[in-house]
Amino acid sequence: MSQTLAEKNTGAETPSVVMRLLRRPLALTGLIIIAVVVLAAVFAPWLAPYNPYEQFFEGLTIEGAPLPPNAQFWFGTDLVGRDLFSRLIYGAQTSLIIGVVANGIAVVIGSAVGISAGYFRGWVDTVLMRFTDLMMAFPALLLAIVLAAIFSPSLWIVAMVIAMVNWVQIARVTYTETRSIAERDFVVAERAMGAGAGRILFRHILPHLLSTIIVWATLGIATTVLLEATLSFLGIGVQPPIPSWGNIIFENQTYFTSAPWLVFIPGVAILALALAFNLVGDALRDILDPTQQGRH
């Protein structure tokens, strides 16, 4: 009974949420940016004009300096004569893979911790939430740096490291919501009818948390993209020659006075993607969270 109700709910909600997102100019802008980056990442081999790893002889001046944006190399070339535009397109793959994988793991860990602590209470609550408090005390970037130093960085390790740092926020939010839902009458009634914890958690609590989780997952991708870029900028994220928007800046930053495009073009890409996810996440929060309404 309750299952069909929940299904009906989401069934009726989904199109209207999308429509309401599309009607907001900022959210629409965000969605368009995300779509462009996703398309660039998926169709990178067809879109990129050159091989991102190939060092072009004509990609450097006679003195060996990188070329500014021109007709042949749209965004110019980097310090070793590679095409920046092609590297950016392949870099989109890196950003999105880490954004989705790292944040996906963080959402799963965070919700699992938050929901179990909020539902079971007692010692489970104490242990899990005190551990969450503890992790919150560590500055995210420094913790990620330590973890990246312990496990030598690769694409997947960087994703894992970011996940291990970023689950905390989701855990806190789902914890608070689970606690309040678990005390509501329909959950108490279900328990009185003899439903097990698994049934209550997956059939009743999880569907109610879905909108919160979607909002925080979207906002979390923005954080993840920024953290990946920062780690790569510090040289302990995704390792060159694999292109990432952060490590393109890392490789070229010493020449920013003579070749500013090598820093600012990837910088704008990072900003645009993080901004897009923040705009969509914020709009989703407005739409899905009734307590926030009237504040805008």
Binding site: L26, R130, A137, L141, L143, Q253, L271, N278
Partner: protein, 306 residues
């Protein structure tokens, strides 16, 4: 109140203990062998074993932790084997520069963020409001290293108004402070906006207007002091953002604080220094939160102590 303070102090002590444990476990997991690092590559196995004995690396896990904890209580954060110096000395010598930078950043983010928030709230729904809120979104979405390099490029390289990185004079402080405060300004402007909008809807504001006070008097005398209260508590929490931010900002601007120390340590994989900075930052964050929790009820009597 006293019971509340006591409970918060005990909680804080427990979290600090937990932090020391997590840091120790991480140090324990590091694959690099400190005894081998001290002894050097040409040392014999016997020498390495000897050093390991001296450092207590042969002891069981919990005894090593107790030794580590005892050291921490005496202010001993371990030794950088590569720099052959005490980590606590390195951190102490660089802490003042970082604190100075953070003070600058707090000033920048409050001035920028609160002004933007107040203007947006007063012009709610207008084009100015929209523009300011987009700006605040950009603030929280912009990577700090890009902001830093951009400010350096425009104001130091092209315009020549400020020195290109470094430390020493007031002019050196400005660009790094703005960079570090940029992110916070984004958050503060949005919090200030929604806080002030909430306050402006209250009955006492309408009453104040009805008594014939000017708009400015109502705003500065009644609305702002109340709207700012929830925001002051955030400054303590900000320390967490700063502790991550200084690694990036100090490395971009060559600012000789603990962030740069950590960044240099990353390049050389000098784990004791990285761990030392992490530990000090975590403690700073916990104490910042404690301070925020203790100050907020003093300035805002409406907040109930739990």
């Amino acid at each position: 109140m006293l019971a509340y303070v006591a409970r918060r102090l005990i909680q804080t002590a427990l979290i600090l203990l937990g932090i020391s444990f997590v840091t120790f476990v991480l140090l324990y997991l590091v694959p690099a062998d400190p005894a081998r690092q001290i002894a050097g590559r040409s040392a014999t196995a016997a020498t390495v074993e000897n050093i390991r004995e001296q450092l207590g690396l042969n002891l069981p896990f919990y005894e090593q932790y107790l030794r580590y904890l005892g050291g921490l209580l005496n202010g001993d954060l371990g030794r950088s084997y590569l720099q052959k110096t005490e980590v606590s000395e390195l951190i102490a010598s660089r802490l003042p520069a970082s604190l100075l930078l953070m003070v600058g950043a707090i000033f920048c983010e409050l001035v920028l963020g609160l002004t933007m928030g107040v203007v947006a709230a007063l012009k709610r729904g207008s084009r100015t409001d929209d523009t300011l809120m987009i700006a605040s979104f950009v603030g929280v979405s912009a990577p700090q290293f890009v902001i830093g390099i951009l400010l350096l490029y425009v104001f130091a390289v092209k315009l020549g108004w400020f020195p290109i990185g470094g430390y020493g004079t007031f002019a050196h402080l400005i660009l790094p402070s703005i960079t570090l405060g940029f992110l916070g300004a984004g958050w503060y402007s949005r919090m200030m906006r929604s806080s002030l909008i909430d306050v402006l809807r209250q009955d006492y504001i309408r009453t104040a207007r009805a008594t014939g006070l000017t708009r400015a008097r109502v705003l500065f005398g009644h609305a702002l002091p109340n709207a700012i209260l929830p925001i002051i508590a955030m400054i303590g929490i900000d320390i967490g953002l700063f502790m991550s931010g200084i690694v990036v900002v100090e490395s971009v601007f060559g600012w000789p604080g603990i962030g740069q120390l950590a960044w240099q340590a990353i390049q050389r994989v000098d784990i004791p220094i990285i761990m030392g900075v992490t530990l000090v930052s975590a403690c700073a964050i916990v104490l910042g939160n404690l301070l925020a929790d203790l100050i907020t009820p003093l300035i805002d009597p409406r907040i109930k102590l739990r």
